[in-house]
């Protein structure tokens, strides 16, 4: 029974990872941008949510309506002012600049909030669980996070394939120079993509903050899980990202079930194994 439980909890955890990864997958797919600061931007959003929750006495779930717009604007500005300058064939400048931004965010948060662990308290929701059988139950919070990640991916998918802006995003992903010739303002499209990505990251951050403790240093680990999900899923495939998140989540849960010290390690090993047999991920949609 503990195995079924592990797989179930791992799947729910995977939904959380997919939510971390959805924004990353979006910007990676649209503009091949490797955002090393993504994990720290998630943590930044969690701290903004914390400030909202504590100062306005809001429920964390309601803070979504404040934090997501803030992060959308932040993402738009970040892309427009800094990142658009360095986009190009060479990935080195992007990695270096986002590495720099990552360090700046970590240390600014550390200066303001110190290294203390924080949590977004969600009242009753914290402990409420759904009983599936005598030995099996799942928390409402992980379940909501999982459903949210499916909802986010479904709506991103709809946005990409059914709306005009989504078409522009896809066209830009295929060939950003030709899209410019068609009269599209590439910089604006990229900035929008980053805005959407960070709004999704903010959503992920709020669920993260309700489920686990966080402090200014936890960003890089979130980044790695998110990247693993994106790469396992394959470039440009959002459902692939969800599958990737679940694979990482389940591997971690199974690893933890064998030996608590192996949780994170087994996720990484499964990632490296998949990379070794399928270097382009499981469901690649576009070519790099």
């Amino acid at each position: 029974m503990s195995w079924i439980d592990a797989i179930l909890q791992g799947t729910l955890l995977g939904g959380q990872y997919a939510l971390f990864a959805a924004g990353l997958s979006l910007i990676f797919g649209v503009m091949r941008l490797v955002n090393i600061a993504h994990g720290d931007l998630i943590v930044l959003s969690a701290f903004i949510a914390l400030v909202c929750v504590e100062s306005l006495n809001l429920h964390p779930l309601l803070s979504i309506f404040i934090v997501c717009p803030i992060m959308f604007c932040f993402g738009y500005a970040l892309q427009k002012v800094i990142l658009n300058q360095i986009l190009g064939k060479d990935i080195l400048p992007v990695i270096l600049v986002t590495f720099g931004i990552s360090i700046i965010i970590q240390n600014v948060l550390f200066e303001i909030f110190s290294a203390d662990s924080q949590r977004l308290l969600s009242g009753e929701l914290d402990t409420l669980s759904l009983k599936l059988s005598d030995t099996l139950s799942i928390g409402w919070l992980p379940l909501i996070a999982f459903l949210a990640s499916i909802a986010v991916i479904t709506s991103l998918q709809f946005f990409f394939y059914k709306t005009k802006t989504g078409m522009v995003f896809r066209a830009t992903s295929d060939n950003s120079e030709v899209v410019e010739l068609m009269g599209v303002n590439r910089n604006h499209v990229f900035a929008l993509a980053m805005g959407v990505a960070l709004a999704v990251a903010a959503l992920a951050a709020i669920f993260m903050g309700m489920r686990t403790n966080f402090d200014p240093s936890v960003g890089p680990a979130r980044l790695i899980y998110a990247f693993e999900a994106v790469i396992i899923g394959g470039l440009g495939s959002l459902w692939g990202t969800l599958a990737g998140g679940i694979i990482i989540g389940v591997s971690q849960a199974i690893g933890a079930n064998i030996n608590p010290g192996w949780q994170v390690l087994s996720g990484h090993l499964v990632f490296l194994f998949i990379l070794a047999i399928k270097p382009n991920g499981l469901f690649p949609k576009t070519k790099d």
Partner: protein, 349 residues
């Protein structure tokens, strides 16, 4: 070299000479002076100066190695801390558990890191660009978490170096510190010298050709795999030795410090970027600035990291070739000329 000299060998189209030779001489004199000061430091400086300079040396080694693989080889790794950690742990394994003399253990630690680098490279070289970068980081995490599982070495909390091993390095404290100091200095000088000679050889040309276009280089007969493997393994070997020296200095090792991405990768990348990527002089300038800022802002803790991050971002945006790139293009000078230049013959004019 003057233009008239060049006329005599019009067939020789490539040369390493830099044009502004008088300014170059000044820089070389400054460099030699610094070197003399460094070598004589134990006789006039204090112990803290020696510690600082040896720390400078191993940061410089790591910066030069990262610059070699990323700046020249185009292998953008963000997981070089893997080899620092492997080297550090290897040093403890060899000295504490196998009774190897510390000096031999330093060399063996490099070999240990190199052996681990072979399967790592086999896996990572299947990946390109961003995938490669992320893969290197994940692999470093795997090594960190792996060592955290080894309970005989203290697991996640790490272990200390027993005093009897340190005593093998010399009888008095001064002897030991001087030996440690010269080891760091020799490692730094030999790494810089070997990179310099590699880059001036046909290997260096092949390396930059791969960086600029893998396909074009391969079509011209460059053995891409061999060259990429060689530089990656060389960098692992050097980082492994640096790691062993770092933890011989620190006397204590733990997975979180040995495989620290911020200490051994982020800082190193900042040094190279601020100094100037793809030049041998850049990491030296970058390391000098890094240590200067650190000494000035030491009391401010995380403000220092914020400042360093801002400087790195601005340099990347405004001076992508770094401080040395700016100086060298402004004055047209190279201290360690490794770039080949096309010299058009002036014959007949």
């Amino acid at each position: 070299m003057s233009f008239t000299n060049k006329n005599h060998n019009a067939e020789n189209l490539s040369s390493f000479e830099s044009k502004n030779s008088s300014l170059r001489k000044i820089f070389i004199v400054i460099f030699i002076l610094l070197l003399v000061m460094a070598v004589s430091l134990p006789w006039w400086g204090g112990r803290s100066d020696m510690r600082l300079v040896s720390e400078f040396c191993y940061y410089l080694v790591l910066a030069q190695l990262w610059n070699l693989i990323a700046g020249y080889g185009g292998l953008v790794s963000i997981g070089q801390h893997a080899f620092v950690g492997l080297g550090g742990y290897a040093f403890f394994i060899f000295t504490v558990y196998l009774g190897v003399h510390p000096l031999a253990a330093i060399l063996l630690s490099g070999v240990f890191a190199l052996i681990f680098a072979i399967p790592s490279a086999y896996l990572l070289f299947r990946l390109y660009g961003a995938y490669f970068a992320v893969g290197t980081w994940v692999l470093a995490e795997v090594y960190r978490l792996g060592f955290a599982q080894v309970t005989t070495m203290g697991g996640g909390s790490g272990m200390s170096l027993p005093i009897n091993i340190i005593k093998k390095l010399g009888d008095s404290k001064f002897d030991r510190e001087m030996l440690l100091y010269f080891i760091s200095l020799i490692l730094a000088l030999s790494v810089i010298a070997s990179i310099y000679f590699v880059l001036r050889s046909s290997w260096g040309l092949a390396l930059t050709a791969i960086r600029d276009s893998e396909t074009a280089a391969e079509s011209l007969g460059v053995k891409k795999r061999l060259i990429k493997y060689s530089v990656y393994l060389f960098a692992a070997f050097g980082a492994g030795m640096a790691g062993s020296i770092i933890y011989l200095n620190k006397l204590r090792i733990s997975p979180d410090s040995a495989f620290s991405v911020s200490d051994w990768t982020v800082n190193i990348i900042f040094i190279v970027v601020i100094g100037g990527l793809g030049t041998l002089e850049g990491p030296i300038i970058g390391a000098l600035i890094f240590f200067l800022l650190r000494e000035i802002l030491a009391d401010f803790g995380s403000i220092y990291m914020i400042f360093l991050g801002i400087v790195a971002v601005i340099v990347m945006l405004k001076f992508p070739k770094g401080i040395w790139g700016f100086i060298s293009s402004y004055f047209n000078i190279e201290i360690f000329p490794v770039r080949r230049k096309l010299l058009i013959s002036k014959k007949g004019t």
